[in-house]
Symmetry: C2
């Protein structure tokens, strides 16, 4: 009887592999740096093989860094596509794991998986729709669930790169995004903070003007997500929002930038339940991959 | 045998009521100015009553101006809520029509209905998901379908009011949105053009700098929608985009502002199929209401 599920959070710097039961209880976990694809995929496969050969693994989910191809009808479905990361361009991540383990393998972006994980494994999130997960660290990513499922579409959401108002008088910094310059990621990612202020984000003290500016950019992006998607909750994760007081500052500025336009008790009275920290900490992606594996085994959905 | 469906496009300036068969063929249609709610709702009900009393009407759909309450569990479900339009605040639009006709009544925003109409009645749109409808006229509205259904969530999407970059050196105009000032609607609606240039949008000639600026704001908003939602098609409707050449200018600027970040043939090679004019002309909302009525009669979905 196959009663366990595998989850892989395939990140650009590390892979996290875990095995869990149907309630999401993790029974084994490993993490290792992302090296050459051949070696990295081999390590992931080896981790799962012991369970797989005993017939105890029902399916695997992969939460991958991108860009990826999510279209099951495409010849490059399950590939990491045009990444600048050396050796990882056009790598058939899903296919190679699927063939090695001979199991059903679900595949999505790391941020959609994180949204799905937070939604699946946290009781108070289960009924919320749309549901958005935003992570702000080295990069910025946005995962979206709407009408009960992750949103894929043309490619996948790239909400980290939306344009936000950039007041160059207040903030003459041009932004660090190699594509857009001053998009959201260009202005508010960890590297943008380090570049602008000459110090790593986590070393910038409370009260430094960096944090007020950061809260404004995040709030403008969250207002835009609120208007575009009407989510019932936004999970704000990643390293940068771990700074003490940043969540509170963002909430206040979301209310301010909304100017009481959307009149919802969620924004006016319960904003601390509207914009929340991840309840799974840094495991949202991996446990999301587990949830994807379960859905894949039960419903055949990839 | 009930074989006809009613559709109401309830706008702030006019109501359009239509009756159509299951293939969307309109057999009767009327339009009248939006007056006091009592009189206006009565006129709409009277239009449908002849069919209803012969038992030929299966259901009615309402595509309403907003803000509205779309939550079936809410006591004010189906109401127009906090509109500044005199007499229309807290009006139970759906309930009054439902009780007068004693039929199933589906209810959604005008823009979600328009998206649903374009999606349902245009063969080449049927499989596209997410699917976005943007209208730019007196105001700006954005309707969204994702994973097969309109997106509701906290309230409903308000994508017309997203913040877009505002280069005050190039465009010192402060914007006309009474809430946000220089949000998308504040900078790019018909009234914003009239206010900025001192002439109604439709009288601004080709080559006037108004159009290049307008195309930039629209393109920035569409890039943001593309990144946030990954739609497979965006329908760009309303009065302003009827200006000759504006669609083409917007498409070129969407490509430019994307900076080849999202690498999709849809953006690179088929952008004239990605950003399109409404195929139902000014009937997207009304025919969307018909489609909602059919879905409501068939599946019981509101």
């Amino acid at each position: 009887m196959s009663k366990y599920y595998g989850g892989i959070e395939a990140g650009g710097t590390k892979f996290v592999c875990m095995i869990a039961g149907e309630s999401g209880e993790v029974i084994e976990e490993t993490r290792f740096p992302t090296g050459h694809p051949d070696e990295t995929i081999q390590r992931a496969v080896a981790f799962f093989t012991a369970f797989e050969t005993r017939g105890e693994l029902a399916a695997v989910g992969i939460a991958s860094f991108g860009p990826v191809d999510l279209n099951p009808a495409s010849p490059s479905y399950g590939y990491i596509t045009s990444t600048p990361k050396p050796d990882w361009g056009q790598v058939d991540l899903r296919g190679r794991i699927q063939r090695a383990l001979d199991l059903p393998v679900a595949f999505d972006t790391d941020v959609n998986a994180a949204a799905f994980g937070e939604h699946t494994w946290t009781a108070e999130n289960k009924e919320l729709d749309p549901f958005v997960y935003v992570t702000i660290g080295t990069g910025i990513g946005v995962g979206v669930l709407a009408n009960g499922a992750p949103v894929h579409g043309m490619v996948h959401t790239e909400g980290g790169h939306v344009y936000v108002p950039h007041d160059r008088e207040r903030d003459p910094f041009p932004g660090v995004c190699p594509f857009h310059g001053d998009c959201f990621e260009g202005l508010a990612s960890g590297p943008s903070m380090e570049n602008r202020w000459g110090k790593r984000a986590e070393t910038l003290p409370a009260g430094h003007p960096a944090w007020d500016l950061e809260a404004d950019y995040i709030a403008l992006a969250l207002v835009n997500l609120t208007y575009s998607l009407s989510p019932q909750r936004i999970v704000l994760g990643g390293g940068v929002p771990e700074h003490a007081g940043l969540h509170e500052a963002v909430r206040a500025k979301v209310q301010r930038h909304n100017h009481a336009y959307i009149r919802s008790a969620m924004l006016a009275d319960s904003i601390d339940e509207y914009i929340v920290a991840p309840s799974l900490g840094n495991r949202s992606g991996g446990l999301g991959a587990i949830a994807m594996a379960i859905r894949c085994a039960e419903k055949g959905e990839l």
